[in-house]
Structures are given as structure tokens and as C-alpha cells.
Symmetry: C2
Subunit: 289 residues, 2 copies
Amino acid sequence: MEQLTISHVSKKYGRQVILEDLNCQLAPGKIYGLLGRNGAGKSTLLNIITGRIFPTNGTVALDKLGTNDQDRVLGQFYLMSESNLYPKRTTIQRMFDLADGSYGHFDYQNANRLLKAFGIDAKIQLSKLSTGLQTAAKLVVALNVNANYVFLDEPTLGLDANHRELFYKELVKSYQEKPRTFVLSTHLIDEIQQLVEHVLILADHHLIEDADVETLLDRAYTVTGPANLVDQYVAGLRVLSADQLGTVKTAYVFDQLDDQRVIPDQVKVGHYDLQKLFIGLTNGGSENE
Amino acid sequence: MEQLTISHVSKKYGRQVILEDLNCQLAPGKIYGLLGRNGAGKSTLLNIITGRIFPTNGTVALDKLGTNDQDRVLGQFYLMSESNLYPKRTTIQRMFDLADGSYGHFDYQNANRLLKAFGIDAKIQLSKLSTGLQTAAKLVVALNVNANYVFLDEPTLGLDANHRELFYKELVKSYQEKPRTFVLSTHLIDEIQQLVEHVLILADHHLIEDADVETLLDRAYTVTGPANLVDQYVAGLRVLSADQLGTVKTAYVFDQLDDQRVIPDQVKVGHYDLQKLFIGLTNGGSENE
């Protein structure tokens, strides 16, 4: 399988900059999280990668093939998105047939099993379903389409906790049976932390992080104790945020801890999770601009 | 402050039963979680309590006053919901004024501070905002309206992780400064577990649980180990679900553990969280019907 390379991608609408000089690579057979605040440009990026919209500048390529004019290349990408591109009365069965027609070898058997698990009738029209079940039906297509790169934009929109759990389990199962690349763009970061291997974080029109989850979390430390000792200990380190309750302070550090620093007895060092890290890295970002 | 009592409330649309003979009480000054699958009737219940729709049977009362005909009573209830009841061009400032007009003593100062934290201009029209910011604007009203019972239906719809964290913090702050009752109806159960004191779980048209979070979680145990030993240990206990990986099994028990049972060395007993418990209790419920 080929590697996907995004080079110098920018997108502007008039004077409004959405993405600026974006560079990254997506490897085959890996699960990615694409994170960003509302309005950070996640959907725009996914639409550019899958050829639904053109970038103002830059290229998206599989190895050395440009995607913009290569049907063979676009046929390896599938985008499941919030916006509904199907004609009004399209049934779920018809969605399966369309995916089979465009990509070939659609896995009807598994799709029908999964449809049943979500409690959806294949003969129903997509637009007649609730928001949550529309998402579920689109996920069934996305998990069974024959594409090497599957992009999921807000895959849990409107799903209740039971259906979210079902989706996460089925994604892992599908990935294990046939490893391919999935890119999940979601606001429910806590829930995908265990699922994704690598994250891309969009903020201020750029990728501010492009790293394995493990590597990122290795630098995410809480330092808790008497405020003066905590301040002393974290001096010179990158502190994303801090809470204080009375005289006890917790600093959220995102930095390599210095082995040479002696940790005072009253100070405790712990870890925090990906969602908290994301919030710390992006506060003041998009939705507040 | 007065206690809210829901007695024998049913709601039917023709032959379709939404709620059947519901009974519960909401105490003043407490934060509740109202949980249920998509389609379980959570929004219907909130609409009945706040007088937006009538129940087919039953009553909602504050102490001994029936709500259906008492303006004084309804004036103690505020419902923030997904559906938008404001005229099309309503600005955020106007929403504040309407809340002040209906309930009196709207906290303009805190509302304006919070609006700024969400990055919203008071002069903008609600309908011009993104889904996430519409939710944020409605939350600002809900957290500053002068009502003793505040019902929040899907309070995190479309919010990114940063704005969800901001909302949770502000809810706690507002509650501490002026204790009143909040009822949160949400699918993000993990995120509200620390926030709510008591949960109501709707399934199959009934309340299947009405208990303090602590009490519920005291009965939520994982039992992990060799499958045969786990099966032996949990025999006779209520097991909600089980996972097996090779010969290692994890059973999710929801029951009082028997002190008399000897735990074999190879078996480990742990805890699981409210979201997992909810899924176990409601799988096979509403959205699959």
C-alpha cells in the first residue's frame, strides 16, 4: 500500500485563511485521530484530501501520484461526512450498491450483520432515520467499503453511548481483519484515546502536533503540591494550565521532565489524558477567534 | 425550596407508548443526570415537567401544587432544549432580556462574562451562530436565569472539548454560589459522572434506576480471570456483559458482591464506570426496538 503525502496545502476563501502550508504524511494501515476545535478546518482538510474541494495551493499525493486527476488514486479514499451527498430517497441498500459500484467488493455480509446490530432496516430511506441512526448507517458503509484510506468526519454525531461503543468495537474488529488507514475526526477525544495510534492536531491554520499518542502523553505530566513548591519545580517547563484549590496547586506540564530536578516530598507527579492535553494546547484557538 | 414530584406520568401518541406510569422526585439543590438511549423519552419527560406538553396521565407537582395551572410554579422551571423557540432574528442580548422578563433578576454581569469566555458577541443573532455556539449561548442563559429547577437537554450538542470543559466548570461554580437543581440529559456519560450526584435512567418507557451515583457504582464490579473461575465466581450474580480474550474473561457484574465467596488468587475484582453500567443496563433498549 502507498503512503499519502500532503505537501504545502493551503486553503483560502477570499481573505479568510482556513489552512496554511500544511505538511504531513499518512501511513498505510494505521488509525489516526484528527483533532481540532470547532472551525479549525478539519472538514476542509478531509474534503481536500478526498478531492471534494480543491486546495488554493499544495498537493495531495499517494507516493508520487497526484490525486487531483487520478481516478485510480481517489478510488482508494472514502470519506464519511456529516453532509449528505445522497439523493433524497436513497435507501440503505442503495447506499451499499453505490459503494460497491464505485469501489468494488463491498462487504455486503458484514454490512448487513452490522446494520442489524444497529437495528436498521436496509429498505428504509436514509433521510427517514434519526440523526443518530443516519450516522450509524453511514458508518456501516464506511466500515465495509473497499478503500485503503477511510476518513470519518464526526463518526459519533448523535450516537448514544451504546452505539458509540458498538462502533468502536467494530472499527477495531474491521481493522484487525483487514488493516487499512482510518482517520477519525471527533470531539470525543477521551473515547478515542485507546483507539488511535497517532494524532494530528490542527490549530491556527497549522498542524501544531503530528505525533504518536504514546510520545505525546510521555510529555504530559501533572505536578501537584503546595503552590510555591510546584512553581519552583515547573520553572522553565512548558505549563499548559494550572488549577489551584486553597494552597494546593496542580500544574499541567507538557514537556520532558528534567531528571536532574529533585522532586520535593510534598509534590506528586502524575499523568493526564489526551483530551486534557488537547484542551491545553488549543485554548484560545479557533472557536474564540 | 420545594420538592418536585412526578406521579404516574404517562405519555402516549395514539398507540405508541413513550412513557408509562413514571414516578420520581427531584429534590431542591441537587444535580441530576437523566440518562436514556436515543428515543427513550428523555426530552418528552423534560417537556412534560416544564409544561411544554401535557402528559396523557399523571401529574407533576411542587410539594402539593399541580404545575399545569400554576404560573408561580412554572416560573421556577427553566428548560434549555435543542429546539429553538426564539423568533428568527433574536439576538443573544434579547435572549437575556426575555429571561429577565419572565423570571426576573437575570444575572447580566455573570452572563456577559461567560459569553466573552465562549467568544460570543451579545449583539449577534442566535441563528447566525454555529451549532456549538448556539448551544453555548443557550447555556449562558440557562446558567444565569433565576429558576430553582434548570433542565438541560443535550447541553453539549456540538461543543468542542474546550467548551465542554468550560461549561462543566461554570456549572459547578454557579451551583456552588447558588445551590439549585440542575437536570442534565446527555449521551456523554463519562464526562458527567463526576458532576452529578444522582441519576435517573429511562428505558422501556420506565425509570429502571433512580439512585445516587455512588450507590449504583458500589454494585458495579468487574471480575477478571480464567473463564471457568470467573463463571464459578459470578454464578447467581447479575452479569450485564462479558468480554473474553483467549481464556481470560471479564464479567461486568451489577450486584452486591457476596462477602462469603472466596476470591481465587487468579481472579481480580475491579470497578467500572457509569457509562459502561448504563450501556449494560440499556442494551437492547430504545434505538434497537
